[in-house]
Amino acid sequence: MLSSTNNSISAVHLTSNIRQTIVAVLSVTFGISMYVFMNSFMTGVNKSQSDLAFSTLAHVRVYNDGPKDNTNLLSGHLSNNQLVNIRNAKLIQYTDGIKNTKGIIALLQHQPEATGVAAQVNINVFFRAGATKVNGILSGVEVENENRLFGTAKFVTQGNWGNLQYRTDGVIIGSGLAKNLSLKVNDNLNVLTGDGVSKNFKIIGIFETSIAGVDKTKAYLNIASARQLLLKNQDYVTDIMMNVKDYNLSSIVAKKLAPQIPYKVESWQMANGQLEAGSSLRDIIAKAVSLTILLVAGFGIYNIMNMTVNQKIREIAILKAMGFSGTDVTQIFLTQALVIGCVGGLAGMMLGYLVADAVNHIPFKIAGLSTLPMAYEQKDYVMAFVFGIITTFIAGYLPARKASKIDPVTIIRG
């Protein structure tokens, strides 16, 4: 039970040495604001990194990962006393691409986590313009779906993404590719497939994702034109891309889908381990730095509370002589610590927001960014406050317990 008498004693203690109280509050404010800022910054960095990565990368990708290992065709068919000699074995029939695409797309679209599904026909080709030849990927896409998943339209710097829908002879190529081939919009681009088919396309747009590897090697065209180029039917697809609500859960979705689909189902984490490692490491650094700052702030409060208890040792003895119990004394000092923690915590959340907002305005023009990235998530603020209160509670509890154990006679006797 909280006693109002104890609370009013706490209030007198807090206000009678206001400067000391302010210093304690400021140390909490500083700790919490740094926690908020560090975590908002790291969340912001991670978000901008994933936005960048997911401009070409799907959360989950379904594809045919090639023929199975056929180097030992007869294993399992032979008994020990048989000898067989096969030379120069060749695969004479192999289906690439995905069969039964409609069924798989329908399955993916019915997943509750799904936010979008897009089919692609990706072809390894040589792009040729005059004497220059560049190896790259021609990506046949469902124009609308592709944009829904990757926001491709916003990377198109010249021309219009939507035109791909109607221009069966049109391609939109990466800025790096255009530069290497010395091509611009309305120029012709020759494409040579692995099967030796050659065809001319018209460049109707240029895109730039700011990922050099993509910009230098990729070109988009309508999925129907891609099928035509390969002489495939209307069902032919090499990759099915799927996005889910929370990309952190992609692996789980992929695992769930794998047994239902006879092709490789791969989450972005499997395909790009380094991306996930990078974002986890940044998270760990942010947590470590901010918890260290909170710990230092905690030490500050501990010191101040300890000092207060030492200064008030005589007062504590008198309170106990008058009939206040050890529990009352603990309560009196713990209340002070918690008031300091709450006031410092609220101020810290505000200061943290202001610092984050200021840093968010610092120009930073690299890789598609214009200012330093920043996230404003309720979770970061709540966590900062909770950690702040826990820290002050512990930092206040130790001196408070010491105060409660003071033996009044020893002090009063002198």
Partner: protein, 235 residues
């Protein structure tokens, strides 16, 4: 008959171990009647303050038995003793000991607020009455550290009285007071003993003060020397 006994000390002994083992109190035994005004005298260093701390339940490191209002206090926990002191014992320390960050009025009110048996308004009203009785009404709202030594001592006396404790103990409660205020305090104590049946145990160096009390007991080197009944107390 224990019903009339406010306090019973039986064979109380106490040692100090610093700087060396030393017996301060040696088998002290005595009874104090309800409503009795007892004074404790003795040379400086004879153990008066030490005995008073034992009787007040603050010092629990002693041998022997202590009973107040028929309750044995030997095996109570610190928190139980705190609660017991709060309700039954008022104490005036040798060196006044007020809470300096609080006003005189707040100092007087605190034990009653802790006890929590009356409303804040009642407590404040009663605290004002006590301060007025000790000629401190003008000082009520001043912070305790702005008061003179004598004023602080009188505030401490007002504080000891606020919960109407059955026993009031004072360690030279008039040590800092002029003769006029000493007389005021003496009269208050006498009146509390006579009219309310509250028991007073006061250490004093003031012969007049001692000689006008009901009974004087003298301590010498930790031994109880003599007990003189001067006035038969009663209602």
């Amino acid at each position: 008959m224990t019903t009339n006994i406010a306090l019973r000390a039986t064979n109380i002994s106490k040692f100090f171990y610093q700087p060396e083992k030393f017996k301060v109190l040696k088998d002290v035994s005595f009874d104090v009647q309800k409503g009795e005004f007892l004074t404790l005298i003795g040379k400086s260093g004879s153990g008066k303050s030490t005995l008073l701390y034992v009787l007040s339940t603050m010092d629990t490191d002693f041998e022997g038995e202590l009973e107040i209002n028929g309750v044995s206090l030997k095996h109570k926990t610190q928190n139980e003793l705190s609660a017991f002191r709060n309700e039954h014992i008022g104490f005036v320390f040798q060196f006044h000991y007020l809470l300096t960050e609080f006003s005189a009025l707040q100092n007087v009110m605190l034990p009653a607020l802790k006890l929590g048996k009356k409303s804040k308004e009642e407590i404040e009203h009663k605290a004002y009455e006590h301060l007025e009785m000790l000629d401190l009404k003008q000082q009520a709202l001043k912070p305790a550290n702005r008061l003179s030594g004598g004023q602080q001592q009188r505030v401490a006396i007002a504080r000891a009285l606020i919960n109407d404790p059955s026993i009031i103990m004072g360690d030279e409660p008039t040590g800092n007071l002029d003769s006029k205020n000493t007389k005021v305090v003496f009269d208050i104590f006498k009146q509390l003993a006579r009219q309310n049946g509250q028991t007073i145990i006061a250490v004093t160096h003031d012969d007049d003060f001692a000689l006008n009390s009901d009974r004087v007991i003298e301590l010498s080197d930790g031994c109880l020397l003599s007990s003189h009944t001067l006035h038969k107390h009663g209602f």
